[in-house]
C-alpha cells in the first residue's frame, strides 16, 4: 500500500458531482495522526461535500480516497466504526434523554450495554451535562445540544473526529466553551478535521488548514504560514464618510496593497501606525482608523477577492 505510515486520511484528485454541479473539483488532502486539520471557506466551497466523502456517507465521483488505510467505497461500515462525526445540523433524538442519546448511539458501534453506561457517565462529565443527564434533549440550549453531539461522536473513542461547522449559530460564550473542549481533545491526541467559515475558529483550533473556494484548494499551510505568505503583518482599516471617501487607487501608494470593502478600505502594511501617520500627512481624513494584525480573513480576501461571511 502506498500509504504514509500515520496518514489517517489521504485524498488524491477527489471529486464530487451532483447532477450538473461539481461541488468538489479535484482535491488533494493528507491528514496526519494527532493533528487538527481545517477546511476554511465560504458556504458552497465544497467543504461539507469533502467531509461527507471522508465520513463514508457520500460516494466519491472520481479520484482516490483512503481513510484509516481503507477505501470508503469498500469498507464504509468498518471505517465509520472507528471515526466520530459531528454534523452541521444536530441530529439528536430530541425525545430521548441526554444520557439515552449517548447510550443508544454507543450501541450502534457494537458496544455492550455495560460499556455504554459507563462511557455515557464519563462523556456527560466531559460535555458538562451531568446535571441534565436525565432531561429530555428538546429543551436544551443550542450550545448544550452541540456539546452533546460532540460527546456522542466520542462514544466509540474515535481515531478521527470530523466536525462540520461545529460552532455555527452559537453565541460567543458557547463557542469559547466548545473550543476549550476541542482543544482538550487535541491535547489528548484525538485527530480532528474541522470545516468552518469562521477564520477565528480556524486560527484557534487548526494546526494546518486548506482554504477552499469553488470546489478547489487555493492555499494550504498553518494559519501563521498562510498569513505570512499571503498578507502583511498588519492591516490599517479606514472608514470614511461616503462623500469624502478617496478612490482605492489614490491611496494605494501608501500601502503594500489596498482592498476595498463596501464599508471600509483595508491597507496592508508592515507597520500600521506608520501608515496611519502617512495617511494623515497626505491629507485624508477618515472617520475612524484601526490597526490590527493580519488574519486568515485577509488571506481569504487576497486569494479570492471576497470576504468569508457575506
Amino acid at each position: 500500500m502506498l500509504l504514509v505510515a500515520d496518514g489517517l486520511v489521504q485524498a488524491r484528485g477527489l471529486r464530487k458531482r451532483f447532477g450538473d454541479f461539481e461541488a468538489v473539483r479535484g482535491v488533494d488532502v493528507d491528514v496526519a495522526r494527532g493533528e487538527v486539520f481545517g477546511f476554511l471557506g465560504p458556504n458552497g466551497a465544497g467543504k461539507s461535500s469533502t467531509m461527507r466523502m471522508i465520513a463514508c456517507v457520500s460516494p466519491r465521483t472520481d479520484g482516490s480516497l483512503q481513510v484509516l488505510g481503507m477505501d470508503p467505497d469498500v469498507d464504509g461500515p468498518r471505517i465509520r466504526a472507528r471515526i466520530g462525526v459531528v454534523p452541521q445540523l444536530d441530529n439528536l433524538d430530541a425525545e430521548l434523554t441526554v444520557r439515552q442519546n449517548l447510550q443508544i448511539y454507543g450501541r450502534y458501534f457494537g458496544l455492550s450495554r455495560a460499556h455504554v453506561r459507563a462511557k455515557a457517565t464519563e462523556l456527560l462529565e466531559f460535555a458538562q451535562l451531568t446535571d441534565r443527564a436525565d432531561d429530555e434533549v428538546e429543551p436544551l440550549s443550542g450550545g448544550m445540544k452541540r456539546r452533546l453531539t460532540i460527546a456522542r461522536a466520542l462514544v466509540n473513542e474515535p481515531e478521527l473526529l470530523l466536525l462540520d461547522e461545529p460552532t455555527t449559530g452559537l453565541d460567543p460564550q458557547a463557542r469559547h466553551l466548545l473550543w476549550e473542549r476541542l482543544y482538550r481533545l487535541k491535547r489528548e491526541g484525538v485527530t480532528q478535521i474541522i470545516t468552518t467559515h469562521y477564520m477565528d475558529e480556524a486560527e484557534q483550533l487548526c494546526d494546518r488548514l486548506v482554504v477552499m473556494d469553488g470546489g478547489v484548494i487555493v492555499a494550504e499551510g498553518s494559519p501563521a504560514e498562510l498569513i505570512e505568505r499571503y498578507s502583511t503583518r498588519e492591516v490599517l482599516e479606514l472608514r470614511f464618510d461616503p462623500a469624502l471617501r478617496p478612490e482605492a487607487a489614490v491611496i494605494a501608494p501608501l500601502a503594500e496593497r489596498v482592498e476595498e470593502l463596501p464599508d471600509r478600505l483595508l491597507l496592508y502594511t508592515a507597520d500600521g501606525e506608520h501608515t496611519h501617520a502617512e495617511v494623515a500627512r497626505a491629507g485624508f481624513v477618515p472617520l475612524s482608523a484601526l490597526v490590527r494584525r493580519s488574519s486568515l480573513e485577509d488571506v481569504f480576501l487576497r486569494l479570492t477577492g471576497r470576504t468569508l461571511v457575506d
Binding site: 500515520d6 439528536l92 439515552q100 456522542r152 473513542e157 489528548e188
Partner: protein, 293 residues
C-alpha cells in the same frame, strides 16, 4: 483521553504505549453484523417507547375500541337476527364475524400512520436517521429496523386488542391468534410501501393527508371489513382485490371462523408477501438514496 478515562486507566495503559510507538490508540467501535444492526435500530425505538408508551398506548387502544363499540356492539345489534346479515356472516354472530377484520383494520391503519410522519421526522425534523447512517449502521438497516419495530408494535397492540375483543365476547376460537399474524402481515406490507413513499417526500405537504383520505380510508371502507365485498357493485370490487387490507381481512377471518379455502388463502398470502417484498426493496433503496448522496 487520559483524563476522561481515569477510572479505567489500567485498561488504557497499553493503548497509550501503542500511541507512543506511532500506531495510535485503536477505537473501541466495530461494525455490527447485518441482523445485529437491524436489532440495534429496533432497540433505539424500544428505548423511545419505554419513555413514551403512555401517550401512544391510549390512542392505539382507544381507536379500535371505538370501532368495536360503534360497529360491533351498536351496528351489530341493528343487524342481529336479520336474515341478510346471517347470510352474509354465514350464520355467526356479527361481532364474531367482524372482530378479525377490525384487527386487520387497526394494524393497517397504525402501520400507515407509523410510516408517514415518524419516517419524515427521522429524515427531516429530528434527523436521527442521518445520525444512524453516520455510525456503522447502513441505510438499509435503518429502514428494516423501522419496519421490524412497526411490525412488533402492531403485534403488541393487536394482542391487547384481541383481549379487549374477547371481553366483549367477540372471540369465537383460538384461530384469532392466526388472525393476528395475518393482520400483522397485511400491516407490514402497508408499512413497507408507505415507508418507501415517505422516504421520497421532502415535505409533508398535502401528500400524507391525501394518502389517508384517498387510500387508507377508502381501503378501510371497501375491504370487506363491515360487509362482504360481493355486496358492492361489480365495478367497485376490483378496488378491494388490490387492497392489501382485503387480503389480510380474508385471511384473518378464515382463521378466526375456521373457514379455510386453501387455494384462496395461498393467493392472499402470496399477494401480501409480494407487496411486503416490494415495499422492502423500495424502502431500503430510497433510504440509501436519501442518506448516502
Amino acid at each position: 483521553m487520559s483524563e476522561l478515562a481515569s477510572e479505567s486507566s489500567a485498561q488504557r495503559e497499553p493503548a497509550v504505549s501503542a500511541a507512543l510507538q506511532g500506531a495510535g490508540p485503536r477505537s473501541t467501535g466495530r461494525a455490527p453484523g447485518p441482523w445485529g444492526g437491524i436489532l440495534l435500530v429496533v432497540e433505539h425505538f424500544w428505548t423511545w417507547y419505554r419513555r413514551n408508551w403512555r401517550a401512544t398506548a391510549v390512542s392505539s387502544v382507544l381507536q379500535p375500541l371505538l370501532f368495536l363499540l360503534a360497529f360491533g356492539v351498536g351496528f351489530g345489534s341493528l343487524v342481529a337476527g336479520t336474515g341478510s346479515a346471517a347470510e352474509a356472516t354465514g350464520g355467526v354472530d356479527y361481532l364474531v364475524w367482524l372482530a378479525p377484520a377490525l384487527l386487520a383494520v387497526s394494524t393497517v391503519q397504525s402501520a400507515a400512520f407509523e410510516s408517514t410522519y415518524p419516517v419524515l421526522s427521522g429524515f427531516k425534523w429530528q434527523r436521527f436517521y442521518h445520525a444512524m447512517a453516520a455510525s456503522p449502521i447502513s441505510p438499509a438497516q435503518v429502514a428494516l429496523g423501522h419496519l421490524v419495530w412497526v411490525a412488533a408494535k402492531m403485534a403488541g397492540s393487536g394482542a391487547i386488542y384481541v383481549i379487549v375483543i374477547a371481553l366483549f365476547g367477540g372471540v369465537g376460537s383460538a384461530g384469532i391468534v392466526v388472525s393476528l399474524l395475518a393482520a400483522v402481515l397485511a400491516g407490514a406490507a402497508v408499512a413497507a410501501l408507505v415507508t418507501a413513499f415517505s422516504a421520497t417526500r421532502e415535505n409533508e405537504g398535502a401528500a400524507f393527508n391525501a394518502l389517508f383520505r384517498f387510500v387508507v380510508i377508502p381501503m378501510t371502507l371497501f375491504s370487506g371489513t363491515f360487509f362482504p365485498v360481493d355486496r358492492l357493485p361489480e365495478w367497485v370490487q376490483p378496488l378491494a382485490f388490490v387492497s392489501p387490507l382485503w387480503h389480510g381481512t380474508e385471511l384473518a377471518r378464515a382463521a378466526a371462523l375456521d373457514r379455510w379455502q386453501p387455494l384462496a388463502a395461498l393467493g392472499h398470502l402470496a399477494y401480501l408477501v409480494a407487496l411486503l417484498a416490494l415495499g422492502i426493496a423500495l424502502s431500503t433503496r430510497f433510504f440509501a438514496r436519501r442518506l448516502v448522496r
